[in-house]
């Protein structure tokens, strides 16, 4: 009856999903940087959630449950296309489209740099980093969502932030070098 009570109040349920949907989209967008793919995966997640509503034992864990479904949809999406590869080892060319929305946001250099840096992280690290930093999940929640040990969450997060730090430095515009080059030509 608990399960039924979650969905019996349709307006509450709709409100809850309306609230979480942008978060699902933001997270999966940070994984793939492709708005169309992100939208499809969020939609698939919501369809699965509605179909499997009876699996949700505790309404308070709805958020984590939805993100788990999203992580599974993401994994399935690539496994179905490339069965021999592990989702964590997916190369970026699978995810990044030449016409990514980052072009549309190029006016903001900081955002563009962060997106590029995140794109270069291995998928396992990217998932942990975004779940912790964007969605404020605790380490134990991230471990449950991605079905990995908490130690792996901590080590991936640590490696992700170290890599991100170096990538952001690499991607930062080096104006002084550019000016020096112009001077030499003149």
């Amino acid at each position: 009856m608990k399960i039924l009570s979650i969905f019996s109040d349709s307006s509450t349920c709709q409100k809850q999903l309306e609230q979480v949907r942008p978060k699902l989209f933001r997270l999966v967008f940070s994984w793939c940087h492709n708005a169309a793919l992100a939208e499809d995966l969020v939609q698939e997640t919501l369809i699965k959630a509605l179909k499997n509503a009876n699996q949700l034992r505790d309404p308070r864990s709805m958020n984590g449950w939805l993100f788990s479904i999203l992580a599974n949809c993401w994994r399935d999406h690539f496994r179905l296309r490339s069965p021999t590869k592990d989702a964590d080892e997916i190369e970026d060319y699978h995810c990044v489209n030449q016409t990514t929305p980052e072009d549309e946001h190029a006016q903001s250099q900081l955002i563009s740099h962060v997106w590029k840096a995140v794109e270069k992280l291995p998928m396992g690290q990217r998932q942990v980093l975004t779940l912790v930093d964007l969605e404020d999940f605790s380490y134990i929640e991230v471990a449950a969502i991605l079905s990995i040990p908490i130690g792996t969450v901590m080590s991936r997060l640590c490696r992700a932030r170290q890599a991100l730090k170096h990538l952001l430095k690499e991607l930062a515009p080096q104006q002084s070098a550019h000016v020096a080059q112009i001077r030499r030509i003149m």
Binding site: S8, Q14, F25, S30, Q43, L80, R81, Y139, C158
Partner: protein, 247 residues
């Protein structure tokens, strides 16, 4: 605590508020003694904020799938009591169907098996539920399974003089099923289509366009329809109250 022994993992946990109060106190002590620790924490915090800022406004496509999904869901939850009785009937139907058809127990998609057994009983006689079967994989085993299950459903439909429709919607690799030059089951599908007028075949135009972009000519089986997008078609059918099964 020796400040040099503070690992990056511990600092990360501090920044993410994952430490207990004793561990936090140790870090605060170290902060006062070692400026480099302060710099590392500051760096981690600023990176965290930077990431949040960078994804604070991701691009949004012009769609509202929630509303579409809920327009299908809301009438269901409003009629919860009747749904409960319907579920009870389904359970009875499932039980009797299960007892009557032992041959279906192996290699069957549980969802389809359930629908098939519901089809065998007369639960939906007054208001039959149509079924959409989504195929998105080119694996021949899956394709065969999709056809087997669809045929079971249609056969049960025919025997019980019911009139529900089964629509196979194919996208991504699943479109191979409906391509006349590639499909390993072209002849079987043609025969099925002739035998069961309630069977519809739909291919995703976006997948077709992608194949054509790669220089692949796409020839579909006769009487195969094309939907602008598989997702839209599935949404539309869910909105209309169809059952959805993915192979």
């Amino acid at each position: 605590m020796n400040t040099h022994n503070i690992s990056d993992e511990l600092l990360n946990a501090f920044v993410d508020n994952e430490l207990d109060s004793d561990e936090k106190s140790e870090i605060f002590d170290a902060l006062g003694k070692d400026e480099s620790i302060r710099d590392r924490i500051c760096e981690l915090r600023s990176m965290k904020e930077m990431l949040k800022h960078a994804y604070s406004q991701p691009p949004v496509r012009d769609s509202s799938p929630i509303k579409k999904l809920f327009s299908w869901w809301i009438p269901c939850v409003k009629n919860m009591p009747s749904l409960a009785s319907c579920m009870l009937l389904l359970l009875i139907g499932w039980g009797s169907g299960w007892l009557m058809s032992p041959s279906l127990h192996s290699n069957s998609n549980p969802k389809l098996l359930h629908l098939f057994q519901a089809a065998q009983s007369n639960i939906f006689t007054e208001n039959p539920d149509n079924i959409i079967v989504h195929v998105s994989n080119s694996n021949p085993i899956r394709l065969r399974s999709a056809l087997d299950e669809t045929e079971n459903l249609l056969e049960a439909n025919r025997r019980s003089n019911r009139n529900f429709k089964v629509e196979i919607i194919a996208n991504a690799g699943g479109v191979d099923l409906l391509r006349s030059d590639v499909s390993p089951f072209a002849k079987r599908i043609t025969l099925m289509k002739a035998k069961y007028p309630n069977l519809e075949l739909i291919a995703c135009s976006q997948t077709i366009a992608k194949l054509q972009e790669n220089g692949i000519a796409v020839l579909l089986l006769p009487d195969t329809g094309v939907a602008s997008s598989a997702v839209e078609q599935i949404n539309k059918r869910l909105h209309q109250g169809w059952d959805y099964v993915r192979i």
